[in-house]
Symmetry: C2
Subunit: 273 residues, 2 copies
């Protein structure tokens, strides 16, 4: 009888939805959302019920988590600012904001060191320095775009850690596509400007080519690094949606500058350099 009962039992009685006392808040929120429940029993490891989580607890958690993730991505540690904005004492506010800002600042200082390696090149071709903010900006924005898409896909369970290879292939192609678009615009802009102005010198075509090619490389590198970073952080046990991602980004900034100046040395040696 027991043998006959078993499969029927499985079909007829769905396994009740429960959560464990050690479950993460987000896991609980997702379960309640998925099954459209109003409450779930919370079980201890031995299966005994220790309480209930209701749907309005979940709403509170979602609102809190959502705004906390925002803060983390902007280098503010959320735990520090429990009180409303206006009620946080100013010295505390400054101290808590300074924390990550100082850490990121120390990392970003390496860009000055990296630029130092190319001081001679800048001296010979000052025009190269003019595009440094643009290069810097493109690295940062293409990277944060890729990071955000991947972090979201991981959070929604659309991709798992094992998909890193497939994501990488997609992002290499996306990076190349985006790089070609921005590189072309950069090239055309310098070319067009040179028709009215001498700001880019007699070698303006070479300058336009250098900036255009460097933009392709930098968008590709920003996109690739931005998309793989969440996988790496997750693999090492960190939450990818934290300020630690910003810190690694500052290191990617340094390599972005190296790419730009290396392309410049390659294209301008013998003419401007």
């Amino acid at each position: 009888m027991a043998e006959l009962d078993a499969p029927l039992d499985k079909v007829m009685k769905p396994k009740p939805v429960t959560v464990n006392a050690f479950d993460d808040q987000e896991v609980v929120a997702k379960k309640i959302g998925k099954y459209n429940l109003l409450a779930v029993p919370v079980l201890e490891a031995d299966g005994s019920v220790v309480g209930f989580v209701t749907v309005d607890d979940v709403i509170d958690v979602l609102i809190e988590e959502g705004t906390e993730d925002f803060l983390r991505m902007a280098a503010v540690e959320p735990g520090a600012l429990d009180k409303p904005y206006m009620e946080t004492a100013l010295p505390l506010m400054i101290r808590k904001r300074a924390g990550w800002l100082v850490i990121l600042f120390l990392g970003e200082m390496l860009t000055a060191t990296a630029m130092g390696f190319f001081e001679k090149e800048i001296e010979k071709a000052v025009v190269l320095a003019l595009f440094v903010p643009l290069i810097h900006f493109v690295r940062g924005n293409s990277g944060s775009q890729a990071s955000t898409l991947v972090i979201r896909a991981l959070a929604l369970g659309e991709v798992t850690l094992r998909d890193w290879w497939r994501v990488m292939r997609r992002e290499v192609l996306s990076g190349l596509g985006l790089g070609l678009i921005l590189g072309t615009i950069g090239f055309l802009r310098i070319t067009a400007w040179s028709a009215f102005s001498t700001i880019y010198g007699v070698h303006w075509l070479l300058v336009a080519l250098t900036v255009g090619i460097a933009l392709i490389g930098i968008v590709l590198w920003g996109t690739l690094a931005g998309s793989m970073l969440p996988f790496l952080l997750r693999r090492l046990g960190f939450d990818p949606a934290t300020s630690s991602a910003l810190f690694v980004a500052t290191l990617v900034d340094v390599t972005g500058l190296l790419i730009y100046f290396s392309v410049a040395v390659l294209f301008l040696r013998g003419t401007l350099l």
Copy 2:
């Protein structure tokens, strides 16, 4: 009798919580969350009930909105990517990511124009160029930190549009505090480095002073612009948590560079310049 009834009626029978058919999703979510309701009736303008919003609808909206805001802050238009990451066709993915990236890129190109005004200064003092990425980075991060805090405070109802003046006073003081911290670190770093290296030349102390003072000004400016921008966008009817905020940020980048080079001209005229 009617006169006596009225106040008693107000005390005893609380006004039922309802929402209007034209209410924003977020308004409905907040109301349900605030009163811990399981469902609210939806009223037409004439007061007739047209339906109900249940608590699990609200959870779905919150999860969706939370991830959408993330995308917007990273310059991806969320409506475009309804499908999961892996299922979005690559050409569509590139086109949707290129949209805002190109707009921001066009704005950021103004930095090359701004740098062009100081080509002569950079030629005379190449050392100035070395700190451009750092200056750029500090402007961006202090700005996004302030923006995020203010957007969150506005979203949670901790401050209203009319508080802009009080927020500005707080952010000027925060910006000065943060600027002093980063400016001091920048000054000390250049000073310390000059003990071992000649990279900053014989006028290293003046260079350290220039970068230090410029950092104070730029953090203050970034913080001020970053905190006031959400008020301005909200006042003009835009959602501050969108890519349009990023676009204005690129314009603030240009002014950041102008501050840096203006401080440099002020401090280095007669020596390096």
